[in-house]
Subunit: 217 residues, 2 copies
Amino acid sequence: MRRFVIIGQTATASADFRLDDLPSTSGRVDVLLRCVRAALLVSHGVRRDVVVDLVLGAGAGHERIVRFVGKDAKFIRPDERSLATLLKKVLAADTDANPSGLVEVRPGVWLARGGFEWVIANLESETPYILDSLGEDIREIAAISAPRTAFFVGDHIGLSDAVRGRLAALGARSLSVGPVSLHAEDVVAVIANEIDRREAGPALRHPRGTPEKPAQR
Amino acid sequence: MRRFVIIGQTATASADFRLDDLPSTSGRVDVLLRCVRAALLVSHGVRRDVVVDLVLGAGAGHERIVRFVGKDAKFIRPDERSLATLLKKVLAADTDANPSGLVEVRPGVWLARGGFEWVIANLESETPYILDSLGEDIREIAAISAPRTAFFVGDHIGLSDAVRGRLAALGARSLSVGPVSLHAEDVVAVIANEIDRREAGPALRHPRGTPEKPAQR
């Protein structure tokens, strides 16, 4: 299982944002939603072995986690407005049924009170990695092939020094996906591709140059 | 210069789509717009050496190209609604000023009458590649480092057999980005990352493990 933890430094934890002006009214939740698509969706399907945690409302006192669980997720559409509509419904739910934990609001989509520290406390023995344009090259780190990994990715601002420090104290290594600093969603796409390659292995790759049919999506 | 040609098999060439229901009313222009973001935008900037051609209205008789030129593009925002708003304005323009060629409607954003064949006729001696989940592995093809390359990418449906055949007749090789068939925008992100790595070269890579500052976006 691979986990992506996307930390919104400005992202609202409230459902009170406007679909027709998502970036300005949500504190850039659009960035986080694009990460959800990149992590979870492939051509005609969902990555069943992926979990995405969005950390919302960081620093506001009113923090919440929205978790997407690939193996259970249904009706996840790729466009930003559909994802924002889904998020709005999830954030409008209350967690009174289970104030200390997660509540499943939609199939495979869960809500919890809590922030970054909640995610840390609830890691399932996964090895954490910090995504950082100055980190070690992901292609050269064998350990990311391990079955349990958690990738911590910043938003349009990056990751705060506090989050970096906390993760480093947990032993998290810093990973880079390449020489150019990319949008968070592209970082996620490149990580997913690297793991796809590791999991397929050389023997499982399709024969090269087979002059056959498409299916790019 | 790297060119991405994104071919919409169902995408409208008209400005008559709804921003609040983009996928259904535009023939999945949302897919193409996400490719524009992935090709053009990086953390706090634009890839100046990239051109993106969107082929719209394929098969409808009323075909148009919208071209984004990285070195001239301004005010390109990453969220889908902003990109769709920009596209709407561009498609509402007329090309009477230059019926046979391109008209710059916004800084770095051009409109032309024409479809796939127009793009082929206007390639600037670039080597064409077909993105195909059954193609050769992009990591093993040295030629994509050449300064002039054009990557032809399908939409949510893929590329038509006619387009594949035409490109193959031009000598285009088929490239795959990995063992899993990805969304078009993720294919673009992975290609961009591969080229970033080639261009940086081993000597230009930042030192590994430098314990420095963020900037993931």
